[in-house]
Structures are given as C-alpha cells and as structure tokens.
Point group: C2
Chain length 461, copies 2
C-alpha cells in the first residue's frame, strides 16, 4: 500500500499520456483522488513546462494545498506566471504560517507582488510573524486558531465552530481567552462533543494549560509537543496573551529539519536548508569545505609529533604499521561516546549536571572495551603478524606497547567523547559540532603521544 | 515557559516537602495541574521508595496516563505491588497499544498476571497485536478507533461519538466501513461539525483513503503520516479490512526511535532501545564492542600496506608525518558524503536509481574541495613546515606528492561515501551501517596505496 515510488512512477506516465492526449477532465479526476503532497511530487516529476497547465486544473482549495508542498523554485515560477486574480485566489486559501514560509523564500520582487495582492489583514499578520527571530516559536506559529469565551455554553461553542471553523487550520484544540486575550484554559473538540449542550465552557475546560512564548526556541516547542502528545501548542506573547498555535505537523517538520542539521554538523558539514538533490554543487562545496580545511590544518599537530619521534620510529619501524589502527580505534571509540551523548542531549535525556555520572559510566564501558580490544589485538599480533606473516620485529614487548596504547586510547577517547559535547552545551555552543571529526583530531594527536611515550619507556627508544 | 528542567527541580523539592509533611491533599492538587509526562518524570526523580505512595494519590484516569509514561523498571515495580483490583483498574484505563507496549517489556511472571487481570476481549486483542512482526505497523497500531457506516446521518454519527467516543484514543479522524469492515472512506470531526445534521456520511466522507497494511514497516507509516500531515493513518489487513489506526503521537515516537538508531549505527554502535543514562554499563559495552573489534581488525590491511612500503618510508621518512592528515581528510570527506546520502535515503529524497546523478554531483563537489585543500596544504607545507619549522626534507616534490594525494583521496572518498549507502539500500542492507567508520577504514587503506604509488613515481623510491 505504501510502495510509494513505484506508484508515483506509474502515475507520472499516466499523467504524461493524459496531458499529451489533452484529456483534461480525466487529469482533474485523477488529481482529485490524490493527496496534495503526492500531487506536488508529481508536478515536479512532469517538469516545469507542463506544471502551470496541470496546476490550473486543480480546484481552488486543493491548488493552494499543493502549492504549499512545492519547492520554492517552482512556487516562484508559478507566481511569476499568475495573474493578479490568480495570486489573490491562492493567497486567500493559504494558512498564515504557510504564507509566511513562502514569503521568506521568494526574491524581493515576488514578495512585493504577494504583499500587494494579500488582504490588509494578512499583510499585517505576515509582517508581524516575519519580525520574530528565525528559530523562535513565533516564526512558525499560525495566528488562525479557534478561541472561546468561558461564559459560552457548549452549544454556543458549536455555533462558533460552524461559523468560523472552516477557515482554521485545526479545530481539534480550542482555547479559552478573556476579554484581553489572556489564555485561561484549553479543551479538545472531544470534550465539547462529550459534554451537555448547556454546560459552560468554563466548567469543562482544563485551566492548566502548557504553553510556550513567541520567543521560545522552536525546537524546544516541537520537543514539548512530542513529549506531551499534544496536537497543538498555544503560543503566548510576553503579556501572556494568546497570539498563535504551533500544530503537530509543523512540529514534525521542525524536528525533521533539526535532526538533519544535527546529522550534517556531526559529519563536519555546515547545515543546508534544502534537500540533498536540490542543493547545487557550489552550495554543497561551501557547506563542506570549511570543516575539511580546519581539520586538515589541525592535523599539523599529529605531523609535528610524528616528526619529533622520527628517530624513535626509524629505530623500530614496525611501530609505524600500527598507527592507523590506533587512531582509527581511538576515533571510533570517541565517536561512539560523543554521538550517544549528543543524541541524549538533543532528546533532553542528559544535561551538564550529569557529567560525572556520564564520565563514570563511559570510564567503565571504556575499560571493558579497552581490555577486550587489547587482548584481541595481542592475539592477532602474535598469531597473524608474527607467526603467519613471519614478521620478527613484532616482539612481545612491541605487542605490549601496542595493546597498552589501545587500552589507554580507548579510555581517553571515550572520556573526551562524552565530556566535550556536555561542555559545549554548558557554554552555549552546539554539542553536535563536537562530534566525530573534531574529537578524532584531538584523539589522533593524543594517541600518538601515548604510543611514543609507552614505546620509549618499554622499548628504550 | 518551557524552562523545563528548572521547573521540575523546584517541583521535586516541593513534592518531597509535601510528602514528608504528609500533605496528601496538597500533593494531589499539585499533580492535577500537571501533564502526565511531567508527573512520570517527577515520580522517577523522587525515587522508587515514595513512588507507590505518590502514584496512589492520582485519580484513576490520570494514574493510567502516568503509568504509560514511566520507564519499564518502574512499571514492573508498581505492578508487583498492585493488588489484583488495582491492576484491573489500570488495565481498564489503558489504550490497547500502550498495554501491548507494557506487556512486551515485562518478564513472563508479570505478563501472566497482566493477562489474567485483563478482560477476555483485551487479552485477545493483546495476543493478536503481539503476533505482528516487531517493526510492522500492526505491532504499534491501536485497535480502538471510531468507525461509522455510510448510511448514517451526521446526527447519527454525533450520537455514536457521544456514546463510545470517550473510550477512543482519538475521534479527530473517523473511518467509514461496510458490513464486512472494508474501509470505504474517511472524514474528520471538523467535516462532521461543518455539515448539516441530515447529511449522509456517504456524501461528506472522502472516499480516497490513504492507508497502510498491518505488515508495512512502521517507519514507512510514520514517514507517510508526516508527509501527508495526517493525525492518524488507518491500518488494514490483507483483505483490506480496517483493523486499527496509528496516531500521530505514536508516529513521532517511531521517528524519534528510528533516528536514534540511525545515529547509533552511523557511529558504529548496535542500536539500544533505552535512553542513554538508563542503559547499563554491560549493555552499552555489548552495543559498542562488536564494531570496534571489526574495525580494529580490519585495520590490519593498512598495517600490511605500511609494512610493504617500509623501505620506501625509511628512504623518505618525512612522508610519514602526513599520513594522519591524509587519512583524516579522506575519512572526513567520505563521512560528509555518506551521511548526506544516508539522511536523504531515510527521508525518501533519493533512491538507488539516482546513483549516477549523486556520483556526478559528489565528483564535482570533491574536485572543488580537493583543489582547495590541495592548494591550502601546499601553501601550509611550504610556508610552515619548510620555511618556519625549517624542515628541509619537505621539498617541492614531496609537497606535490602530498597535495596530489589529498586531491585523489578526497575524490575517491566522496565517491565511495555516496555510493556505498545507495548500494546497501539496493541490496537490502541498512545504509546507516555504511557510515563513517566503515568508509573510513576503506578510505584509509586506499589513501595509503595512492600515496605510496605517487611517491614511488615522483620521488623514485
């Protein structure tokens, strides 16, 4: 049922056939059975040339829903081709938060046209939302929500829903406000349906409302929505007046975006705001080069250490063969710890005050891992490198140096890996940036120091 | 408003004070103003000894909601302490999908007690859901949903909602089925509220229902819910009969879990199913050791390559100092590409058929990155290593070897990094496992081969 890709491919062929044979009625019928998100994908697949024709086949409301799902390049192309009347029609059908999203992505000339064609009320609301900081709850909220008064009866409430509920993004959650728009309580449409017609809203509402402010971080709001299983989170201004709501579908989008950003940062990329295939080569290059450059140049330290121990290495060249293994194992151990802690931080499972508990846990895990890896490595070096491959330079002392280094490096890497993200969070940096590449560079240099110190001591180099 | 941690800490102190002074009425009042998820956190914070007392202060319905949010160790502890009557009471209030979650986590003795105290109907449903594979939509669906018949009027539908809607997890989406439970259409409670009392359900329902089957992957279902902005996804069996729904809050949980698993796999860990701080040292060790071991042992190849070129290295020992930089840069370049592609795969933005487009894009990005890194490295080696640090072994030819290697390695790493995850997806493996550590190991070995081949050719070693 969800074999989405195959279904879409078949549909693209069907649509192209219908378009060639100019069967517009059949095309319209096909679209009517589909979800807006799928129609948008389909319009993209069939290409820019036929998009305006296909788009104009959609009935007004569906057209607006599809419009919202299109990538911004296509939205711009369509708007440029719209008559003023067509643009007004689309704007009328848009929810405010979607309109704001579109305005944010368009070039100035298109923005001016949009604001010209919007109703004065919408223009005012768009301007208001654009004023909130980029990552704030205010910037993603919808100002169209259903508010009730506490003195209303259930039957008054139903009348109000019937009158204005059609224009709201959701009526599943209803908010009770006083004459100065202060938030007094919340109730669901189910509470309303299960109550008696004469019940007062005041008596059936829940006066304990969890809400967020316009200036709260949008990611925190999305996480709270998820934690409380809410369908919408009311957003209040600094005077506790209800000004908007953030709905669960917007929260899911925020979480998806933030997760992608975390993945990107952890892989030493600057976050991009477009899907992978839609990001151009130059933008991708710009996002990737800075960290590659920084990390490459910081490898100068490992180079200096290796130069410093040049003579020791020349005296016992076999040591050199184990350096990639040591830095790899150190890097991987550190990455495991850092990624586990970064994820726990972003899910609010740990905070800085847990640092000692985290270190103690990682220390014991590292000790166990280090012992196992050291032992396995000892066996591998004696059996494979010395006996099977016949490398006589691999003496028991060399084995001991390598295996002790493995153990120390694993413990050090896990300690650094788990504490750096917590430290970053504490001092207000992004923990995700403290992930593998950064830690690998630190661990690389340190593991060489440990290695040569042990080698000097045990092998007398 | 969302300064969650500070609020909770204050509340824990307040609760402990009220508990010591035996102010049970005040405690109960405090709980009544709180969200179930927060009460659960609070019970955890105050500790196991006072948990049963505090739990018993909660009114029946709230108690069940809190119970669901507790970690399974605490659930087990509470169940063991429950009388049969108390257990029955909790079970009565649970939604089926939550009851199944609990049963799955409990040891056999507790499961038997739960099934004994459940109603025969609930027992049957639990057994049915437990039969679905772990990652299927069937295993997370809720079998309590509100179904209507197409011949009903809107006012009949309202009567039905008032009669049985109180026991349903959601009434926001209503499903229309025929006498054999086949799914005919869907409508929202808003559609119902905006319609006339005498309208037939058949006329206002949307007959184009997107649904999933019990055997679909739960992650696909969650992604589809997010894509279509649904509040619930109907789940049908193989005969297209409606058997359950997956609600948006469950979908968010699935996405969170799967994302955490992706992070873990990409950092060379086996996925765990518990939050970071709740996973014991032994479990963490078990999840981390296997990949560390595999990757450590596979570094044998890089060791063999280094041994093979031992004489070349001895002849030009300065080459050695750049090996960590080369493998670091290669690893980071590969990780960037692989993580970008893995994330795009899990968001359904790319598929295997895009492989040529992806390779072509990564090739151009790699060329740009490689040129910049090579040039920067050339400048750094000549200015810092040769002139400032006075290392005369760093000749122009050595610089050329290192910088050319950087360029080749970046291109190779990005090609491997972007294609391996796509290949993994194609042959049915998990792309996330193809992430940084795995690719780093391949790139490590290859970059050494490129390095020594170039060095042999240009330096005549």
């Amino acid at each position: 049922m969800l074999d989405h890709e195959n279904q879409l491919e078949e549909l693209v062929e069907e649509i192209e056939y219908l378009l060639q044979s100019k069967s517009y009625a059949a095309l319209r019928e096909t679209f009517l059975t589909m979800e807006p998100a799928d129609i948008a994908l389909l319009l993209e697949e069939t290409g820019e040339s036929s998009m305006p024709i296909l788009y104009r086949l959609l009935p007004k409301e569906l057209a607006a829903e599809v419009f919202v799902e299109l990538p911004s390049e296509n939205q711009e192309m369509l708007i440029v081709g719209f008559s003023n009347a067509e643009l007004t029609e689309v704007l009328e059908e848009l929810y405010l938060d979607d309109a704001v999203d579109i305005v944010e992505e368009m070039p100035a000339s298109v923005v001016i046209r949009i604001l010209d064609q919007a109703t004065p009320e919408m223009r005012k609301s768009i301007n208001q939302i654009l004023k909130y900081p980029e990552d704030s709850a205010g910037s993603i909220m919808n100002m169209e929500f259903l508010s009730l008064k506490k003195a209303m009866t259930v039957s008054d409430a139903f009348k109000r829903i019937r009158r204005i509920g059609g224009d709201m993004e959701t009526i599943n959650m209803l908010y009770v406000t006083d004459s100065r728009r202060k938030l007094l309580g919340v109730l669901s449409v189910r509470d309303l349906l299960l109550a008696d017609e004469e019940d007062l809203i005041e008596d059936i509402m829940d006066p304990n409302v969890v809400c967020a402010t316009t200036m709260d971080d949008k990611e925190d709001v999305a996480q709270a929505l998820s934690r409380y299983d809410f369908l919408a989170m009311p957003i209040v201004d600094m005077e506790n007046r209800l000004v908007g709501i953030v709905t669960v579908d917007d929260a899911m989008d925020v979480i998806e975006e933030e997760t992608t950003e975390d993945f990107e940062k952890m892989a030493a990329m600057l976050p991009s705001d477009k899907p992978y295939l839609r990001t151009g080569v130059i933008d991708t290059w710009k996002a990737r080069l800075p960290w590659l450059m920084i990390l490459m140049l910081s490898a100068t330290f490992t180079g200096i250490i290796l130069n410093h121990y040049e003579n020791a290495l020349a005296a016992c060249i076999v040591l050199n063969a184990y350096i990639p293994m040591l830095s790899g194992t150190g890097g991987n151990s550190g990455t495991q710890a850092s990624v586990a802690v970064i994820r726990a931080l972003s899910l609010d499972e740990v905070e800085f005050s847990d640092v000692l508990g985290v270190l103690w846990k990682e220390f014991r895990v590292a000790l166990l891992c280090g012992l196992c890896l050291g032992a396995a490595n000892f066996a591998k070096m004696m059996l494979l490198d010395r006996m099977l491959l016949g490398n006589n330079e691999v003496t028991i002392t060399v084995c001991a140096v390598v295996c002790l280094t493995v153990m120390f490096v694993v413990v050090f890497a896990k300690a650094v890996g788990c504490s750096l993200p917590l430290l970053a969070e504490k001092i207000g940096l992004d923990p995700a940036v403290m992930a593998s590449p950064f830690i690998t560079t630190i661990v690389d240099a340190t593991s060489l120091l440990i290695y040569f110190t042990l080698a000097s001591a045990l092998l007398g180099l």
